[in-house]
Amino acid sequence: MRLVADSGLWSTGPVAEATPLVALLEVSGAVLSWTVDDPGDTATQITFTDLSSADWLWRVLGESGHVALASALGSAPTADEPRSIELAGVDIMPGSVDPLRRLAVGHWLRRWWPASRRDGIAGLDRALLDVEIALLTVGAQGYFFDDTLDSGVVELLAPHAPALIAHVRDGDPRILDLVRAGAGLADEVGIDDVGWPELHAALDDSSMTMSMPSGRRDDYALAAGAETGPSGKVRIARGAASMSWGAVPPGIFDAGEDTVDWSIEVVGTSVVAVVRAAVIGPDPATGVEVRLRSGAIGGSGVLDADGRATLPLVDGSQEPLTEPAAWDHDWSATLVIVGSQVSGETETRETRERVRRWARARLDRPANDAFLAEIVAAESEY
């Protein structure tokens, strides 16, 4: 095993890809990362944030490996010099990190799953996914001696009682097993939020309610309706842009390409950009920033719940854009940016396509370690 000094911290293994391709897990004293679509199990990167807290390391490297690594870093404690240390005979034991990787993938699914109506990638049921991640977290409790960003289960379970009650009514035995296990865990860790007593009651007599009609609602919010705009408008130009996933929170927008339709229109005496981003929910797009730039012309605003915004446009001298100037302008190089202004390397269309490919493959042939939420999505014939 080779330890490399990376930005002041010691790391093992190959560097995982950048977002959105990296799945990671924060355990006591270290961050573990993998490239999400890389099946190889040698590809685990461990970055130590506090080696003395990584009391689980022997489970992964074996006792002698743990001791060798601790003593090597003990005598070279700052990750500056030398740049790397070769540890002969120390390796990650095959299979030892599999449960951690699965948990990391679960967390990735929560945040990056590319649900898209346009691309036919079904969304994942949040409640089922969160319950399964909570149970896996408890199973991996030996890696969370100190609390980390990923050690908590209360916040994963607490909001979902109402959705889980609906699932209990559906009566799918796989789901019932999962919900039962989740409810048992909730009991133990002390969750008293809205709906939990009712969920316990529903589970107690789930055999009776199994034939009751389902009250479950589709997790997708309805997409904004067909194109309708204010009548009497004059359209000068139109186009479509793609959204950088890393610039917006998950659970709002369709993860397809070219989902941001824009048009330059004359409304009354002013020239505006009308932007409509395809939404998929369940969260509203309210408040997400949107900016348009075309040469010296620009405008900015925020989206409404359905992903729409009308942006007043200004010219290079910050004056309102006039209609003749708008007609004269070449709009072909127009940029529309939704979300936070991502500095540095932006994700590429190719990267997103790679993620979609992986997601489709997960749905087409659910892996042995697939989450129940994925299996349910695969069966939903979206």
């Binding site: 240390i85 030996g142 960003l149 909001p159």
Partner: protein
């Protein structure tokens, strides 16, 4: 292998401490399943709440707490744990009894393991295994845990300070103690300079045994130095030459620091603004072993002196640790890549904070270096103003240690305290950023 790489041929001696605990735990055999994980090892909470504090008693046996332990230490730990097998089996039986009672009473608040584990071991030691059908003990224990012993202690405090005579007496004491604290004549910036240079050694690179011994010597000198005391005293003087602003550090809402009140009178939660009664209340709330504290009147008298002391802390080692913490805190900025640190320890903490911020980014909770949703703006700004929450939490920990007279004279312990505070503030911040985005999920 590249030229700048080093081949480590170190053959480590010893065993990871957690693996020692696991092996000993398995040697206990059946009867402790409820305290164990699926693979048969002890639950992390079992280690944290029972084995470390009550079986290995790390506070008095620090040799059991190093990440890797020597073979003879490992053997001693093994014997201790296996030797406690009967108590641990009884503790497991108590946990089952309490869990049944919890279910019977439909109690769904608080983490059962977290709350009941230490009590179970205490019951195992004092009463052995639970008698069959002993619902009364179980129900009394749950009442105690859930209705809270701390509430009783805080009620006693409230009653005590309800008396005007008591308050007057404490206020007189406070006036006197406050006036007793004066910076020495020579306490100017010329003295602060060498002191800060010494801190450079304390907070310097952690490598090597000789360096570590030197660091310990310097830390002992720092504690003996009057500078931390004087700096704290200067914080009360108009136009003092304090190297930092206590308002900007978040330690006080006013400059110079004002004399604290006995009770009430301030909405500020800044450490140096807190009233004597609030400080005692915090002690009572935090204390796991309240019986070991002095009674309320004595606790209040002590706290008056503490509130009057420089930095609101009585002992020199705590005052010195706070000053060291201030020097570290002003260098921390989790979202700023450009920051460079004067101290190796601060650089190390900063490297971790950056990695932790990266985790948020990789999880789509933050865009590169900024909020991913306008809703997070406030929390992200808080993350940038890192020194304030860092010092608030460090002060609270030091206050606790001051009350319990836990020393801060070991330089490595002080360094790990400074690191630990950074970790918990970062976790707290990141949980809030995460919560901001997940708010809507229930809707």
């Amino acid at each position: 292998m590249s030229a700048d790489s080093q081949l480590a041929m170190v053959v480590g001696v010893g065993q990871p401490r957690r693996s020692v605990i696991e092996a000993a735990w398995r040697a206990i055999g059946p009867g402790v399943e409820v305290l164990s994980s699926d693979d048969g090892g002890p639950l992390s909470r079992t280690v944290k709440r029972i084995i470390d504090p009550l079986v290995l008693r790390l506070r008095s046996n620090p040799q059991y707490s190093t990440p890797v332990v020597a073979p003879e230490t490992a053997a001693a730990m093994h014997d201790l744990i296996v030797g406690s097998g009967p108590q641990l089996r009884s503790a497991a039986a108590w946990f089952e009894t309490l869990k049944l009672e919890r279910r019977r009473q439909r109690i769904r608040t608080g983490n059962a393991q977290e709350l009941y584990f230490p009590v179970c071991f205490e019951l195992a030691v004092t009463k052995g295994s639970p008698a069959p059908q002993d619902y009364e003990t179980a129900s009394a224990v749950l009442a105690d845990v859930h209705q809270g012993r701390d509430r009783t202690a805080i009620e006693v405090l409230n009653e005590y300070v309800d008396s005007p005579e008591v308050v007057t007496r404490l206020a007189d004491q406070l006036d006197h103690s406050w006036c007793d604290v004066q910076a020495s004549e020579t306490a100017t910036a010329t003295v602060t300079g060498p002191f800060l240079a010494e801190l450079g050694t304390v907070l310097g690179p952690a490598s090597g045994h000789s360096a570590s011994a030197a660091r310990q010597r310097v830390w002992s000198a720092v504690i003996a130095d009057a500078t931390p005391y004087n700096l704290g005293a200067l914080a009360r003087i108009e136009k003092s030459e304090l190297p930092w602003s206590i308002v900007r550090l978040g330690l006080s809402s006013a400059e110079p620091q004002r004399q604290p009140k006995i009770s009430g009178g301030s909405d500020s939660d800044r450490p140096l603004d807190r009233s004597v009664v609030d400080r005692v209340r915090a002690t009572l709330r935090r204390a796991l072993d309240r019986d070991a504290l002095p009674d309320i009147p004595l606790l209040c008298e002590e706290e008056v002196d503490r509130a009057s002391a420089p930095w609101g802390l009585l002992s020199e080692d705590k005052q010195a640790t706070l000053v060291a913490g201030i020097e570290v805190a002003v260098e921390l900025a989790p979202l700023d890549r450009s920051v460079s640190s004067r101290y190796a320890l601060a650089a190390q903490i900063q490297a971790r904070l950056r990695k932790e911020a990266y985790v948020l980014h990789a999880r789509r909770y933050l865009a590169e270096g900024g909020p991913i949703h306008p809703r997070q703006r406030q929390v992200v700004d808080d993350l940038a103003a890192y020194a304030q929450p860092y010092l608030s939490r460090l002060w609270a920990r030091l206050h606790g240690r001051d009350v319990w007279q836990d020393p801060c004279d070991d330089v490595d312990e002080v360094r790990s305290l400074l690191e630990g505070v950074a970790r918990s503030v970062s976790l707290d911040h990141r949980q809030r950023i995460k919560a901001m985005l997940e708010l809507q999920v229930a809707g």
